[in-house]
Amino acid sequence: MIPREFEYHAPKTIPDALGLLKQFGDEAKLLAGGHSLLPMMKLRFAQPGHLIDLGRIRELKGIREDGGTLRIGAMTTENELIWSKLLQDKCPLLVEGARLISDPQVRYKGTIGGDISHGDPGNDHPALMLVLGASFVLKASTGERVVPADGFFIGSYATLLKPGEIMTEIRIPVPAPGTGTCYSKLKRKVGDFATAAAAVTLRMKGETVQEVAIALTNVGACVLRARAAEDSLRGKALNDASIAAAARLAMSICDPAADQRGDAEYKTAMAGEMTQRALRTARSRATH
């Protein structure tokens, strides 16, 4: 399986990459880790005439904290997220999520920015980004804009990223102390996408829910924010009954495509189960 012919470019700076993107327009695709794009090119689902490899742009890499915000270069790999002491301390949800992505070899190459901008509903970072309240830095030759994760994902392989833009950085506010988080993912085997998964961030005040965010992976055209489920929990006690009710509300927004992972009814049920598990685990990790 060999891709169609294309021209290869390996810019060393963001302005050079933006210049190439402008020059080749619709004919160009950006190459991040390549573990979604290259398989699609091998199957000839994607046939770009020009491939712009972001792998040699140093400023797109790295993880740092800057005034209560985690700033992650878009080309930072999944294994780099997993091994980050800073993230383990400040945002363990991202580490937990990255550990559940594909397999070790893929995680050496796969990047957080690629996972987010690809727009595949099976990708895991979108749900994590929604519950963490992340925002994305999108650069174009005319300037840059910062867009919130909430609203960025608009459909299957569709995001607010415009042609001519490059995602350069992911910004995540450091979760408040005491926040409990969990990413609960059901997959058939190592390397598979989620049958269904749920990301949760949770802050408790005594026995009641102060703040909660819930997002679901791979049960719709894109990641889903389970707002009604969140609303049902805010200010309420977190117990078996309220968790089950929230899971039912989360299930009510699911519209998964049937495939070899299961039919729509099964996947919806699993989204509910993952929601329940993520809520329970997040509660056990939250301090009151």
Partner: protein
């Protein structure tokens, strides 16, 4: 035809040059242009890990890397493990612990285990299973592969002591 690129990298410590179309995958350059047939083509879809090589300190599936991405890189394949007629501790481990039957997955397994042991010289069984999960074996049931990696870890740590 797309313009060909001259790509230079180090293969098992020796400088090599290949002239490739941008669409050529690393596994094909290794096997067909550089006669390194240790890395195998299994699934061609980045699932099985038979084509695993070490690229600049990362285990990668060479069916999902373009050769043009490897300019100035350091690549290690199974051919680079044995030194002066002495097997690497991992090769010894796979032999001693019966870590292979048909052998098709073995070059990828050993190359992956090499990077794992560089990063974590004494992994637990659970860590070995988690960090070797990108390599499929259809013969052994994995038990003896885990033992082979443990054998090598022990031997390498006693050599360091």
């Amino acid at each position: 035809m797309a313009k060909k690129h001259a790509v230079s990298f180090k293969l098992n410590g020796k400088p090599v040059d290949v002239l490739v179309e941008p669409r050529e995958l690393l596994i094909h350059s290794l096997r067909e242009k550089l006669q390194h047939t240790g890395p195998h083509i299994g699934c061609e879809t980045s699932h099985c890990g038979a084509c695993t090589v070490d690229l600049d300190g990362m285990s990668v599936k060479s069916c999902t890397v373009l050769t043009v991405q490897c300019q100035d890189a350091e690549v290690l394949t199974i051919e680079g493990f044995e030194q002066g007629g002495v097997l690497h501790a991992l090769q010894e481990g796979f032999t001693q612990e019966h870590g292979l039957q048909c052998g098709y997955c073995t070059p990828g397994m050993i190359t992956r285990a090499y990077r794992l042991l560089k990063e974590n010289p004494s992994p637990s069984e659970e860590e070995i299973r988690y960090w070797m999960a990108g390599n499929l074996c259809r013969c052994t049931g994995y038990q003896n592969i885990v033992k082979a990696v443990q054998h090598a870890a022990k031997k390498m740590s006693s050599a360091r002591a």
